[in-house]
């Protein structure tokens, strides 16, 4: 049994919202990914497998889903969506605001047909407000949400995070919002339309900069690793965050209590911050001939928060991720087995993550449309009209 067994989700989200359905599917929901007959845009997004064709972006965010195709731009397709939606608890979509209404399947209409439905819309800026119709990308969301401004060296342009953190953050936020609305429906019997904004999803992660600014008028600036310092070692870097006095005392003891750092004022975080130029050379010298993994192990044994800077291959292959099963082999396409991140959560000690590869376009058409009562003859007609 999984937590969301029995929850039926129709997932129209592309690129910016695909992780929402993946998270629901990981926890056991029956998620049906609906794409245009030509396949979703996100099937053409990097990164690609070495075959140059298989989008790993799509593969990871659509694992555990079933797949159907439907052309919403046709009247027949829109009517079929309306018919489908009656059979689901949740519909997730990420079209531009107003697109579904123009197809004749506005969220209000879907709710009129199925008042218990939760419709979750994930868009760059939300369904209202002056930016509603602005175009967005992951980079634009990361920028406007406020995470980009404090990333990168002070003397360089801000640098965006790898992956699609803005869009995936919206996916996580949407998964929470969807279950919140579903929980309310369990109590009231009523569904609703949920409006998730990528910009606001990212802004919610921006480290309380807004309340701090509203109090002090100050704005945080880009400063490399800043107070979360990176130190070079013999074979790379470690990050050491000496936040409280006992971290500092443990570090001094490890370094053999150098007299230059004996000033008790250094026990205060703000003093250390202001006098870093006095402190850092000693630390750098102490780490210079040690390997990053040895520095991390010894520091952690002494209660100092140090982590080694690992390259991607070192993340996949280290003793900790191996012991935890952080990655697992999964066939992403016929003959293409890769190591995939094995899931965000453990539930009662069991990993909840990708079990089944992402579907091909329309792979489950006969099955899913069959479940809502379409007969083979009707499906053939729809295929002939290129509606599915």
């Amino acid at each position: 049994m999984r937590l969301l067994d029995g929850l039926r989700v129709l997932d129209l989200a592309d690129e910016k919202g695909e992780l929402c359905g993946r998270l629901l599917a990981d926890l056991g929901a029956d998620v049906v990914r609906l794409e245009p007959p030509a396949g979703a845009l996100s099937r053409r997004l990097p990164p690609f497998a070495p075959d140059g064709r298989t989008s790993l972006y799509f593969a990871l965010r659509n694992a555990n889903k079933r797949g159907i195709t439907l052309d919403l731009a046709t009247a027949t397709g829109a009517a079929l969506l309306e018919r489908l939606a009656v059979h689901f608890d949740v519909l997730v979509e990420s079209h531009a605001p107003g697109f579904l209404a123009r197809c004749g399947v506005a969220p209000e209409k879907l709710l009129a047909d199925n008042p218990a439905l939760v419709v979750t819309s994930i868009t760059d800026f939300g369904q209202t407000g002056p930016y509603r119709d602005y175009a967005g990308t992951d980079l634009v969301g990361f920028a406007m949400g406020g995470l980009l401004h404090r990333a990168g060296a002070a003397s360089r342009p801000p640098v965006v995070a790898p992956g699609a953190l803005a869009y995936d953050s919206a996916g996580v936020t949407a998964a929470f919002a969807t279950l919140l609305a579903y929980w309310q429906r369990l109590r009231t019997g009523r569904g609703q339309h949920v409006d998730v904004s990528v910009m606001e999803s990212v802004a919610n992660l921006s480290d309380w900069q807004l309340p701090n600014h509203s109090q002090t008028g100050q704005v945080g600036h880009r400063d490399g690793a800043g107070i979360y310092a990176l130190y070079p070692c013999a074979d790379g870097f470690v990050r050491m965050i000496v936040l409280v006095a006992h971290h500092w005392k443990a570090l001094l003891a490890w370094m053999g209590n150098p007299p230059e750092l004996a000033d008790p004022a250094f026990e205060q975080f703000l003093v250390r911050l202001l006098r870093r130029p006095e402190i850092d050379p000693h630390i750098a010298r102490f780490f210079a001939d040690k390997k990053k993994i040895d520095v991390a192990r010894e520091a952690q044994a002494r209660g100092i928060p140090v982590t080694p800077l690992l390259e991607p291959g070192e993340v996949i292959g280290n003793e900790h991720t191996a012991a935890r099963g952080t990655f697992r082999g999964l066939e992403l396409a016929p003959g293409l087995e890769a190591q995939v991140a094995s899931g965000f959560l453990e539930l009662d000690g069991k990993r909840s993550g990708p079990r089944e590869r992402a579907p091909f376009p329309g792979e489950h058409n006969a099955q899913v449309f069959g479940e809502i009562g379409l007969r083979e003859a009707e499906l053939s007609a729809l295929r002939a009209q290129a509606v599915i």
Partner: protein, 410 residues
Amino acid sequence: MGQGEARPLSGLRVLDFGVGAVGVEVGRLFADYGADVIKVESGTAPDFMRAIIPGGMNASFASSSRSKRSLGVNVKTRRGLELVERLIRDSDVMIENNGAGVMERIGLGSERVRALNPRMVYFRSSLPGSRGPWSSWIGYGPSTHPVSGLQWLWNYPEDADRPAGSTNIFPDHLVGRLGAFAALAGLIARERSGRGVVAEAAQFEVAAQFLGDWFARESLAPGSVRPRGNASERGAPWGVYPCAGEDEWCAICVRSEAEWQGLRAELGDPEWARRPELATGLGRVRHRAEIDEHLVEWTRELPPHDVMRRLQARGIAAGVVAHAHHHLVDPHLAERGYHLLVEQKPLGTLVLEGPAFHGSALAEPVARPAPMLGEHTRELARERFGMSDAEIDALVAEGVLEEWKPEPPA
């Protein structure tokens, strides 16, 4: 927006043993939607977020513990632990993100909690996770960046040997949202099964999950995954461009032929943009450096919001690289009700982050001030333990309960 709706999580009782950001943000999201969230804490081991600035209250804490009540109790005393066990028996959700083994040593590990209350939905999170050779490692949000691959990849492509670094606490706030999602899923399942669940997220692992497609590629073609900076193979120009003003930037992404034509028109179709090698998407990606050189000449004369508005009017994805002041005065956020005001003693009026989503039948969050440590101890001891003031006074005197008292007026 849903007005006049009952808040969906009202009636749920949440015990928040969070520190820093992860657990604390889970509690905040539950409080936003009406749950009765009790921050269980003690001056003997205070949440470091309270302690970073003297006085026990700051804007970060005020945001992340909004609308909660604080119970000051020392669980290292036998009587204190008994009282918390009583709370556990009649609560629905418990949240913690302390280091490995901390809750077990107190006597409130997941096994014990489950024995006390089989219906408890227990969310816990730590940097390394509770299993594996590094499970005793400690750290903060930024400590996850190096071990998850995020740090090495979050860089300018030419600087792979010199980490760029960021001061974002990521992924703490996002793990908070993931935790709230997991806890809700646990509550939904409990409606059927009658049983609770222990949900766990290792923070470094969450950061790695978001890079899952890149790790898959690395496993298929070792060494092929490198820092990519702000560029994309999807198009050019694509990146972050300096604008007029100090440290002001605008992100611009040109994805299609139509958008390229729109950009050309907006720039007055300069000669460089008409060159045949820039006529195709592939050609523009190949000549991105050259395009960027020209585009910067245009952007650096204009404030970032002008660049954004002018390009968006042409259908081009463009957005200012926002900082907190931009968010404070942003007309879009204002219109969508993002600015949530709270009177927070002793700081004054604060603007908190509002919701990232709205629902047509969802009550909007209302923020109440975050509590001082032990501010609601007496209220909660009366309400949940049925204690008299004399009993409460005695437990405060013994150091079992901790109570905040306002400073007498000078």
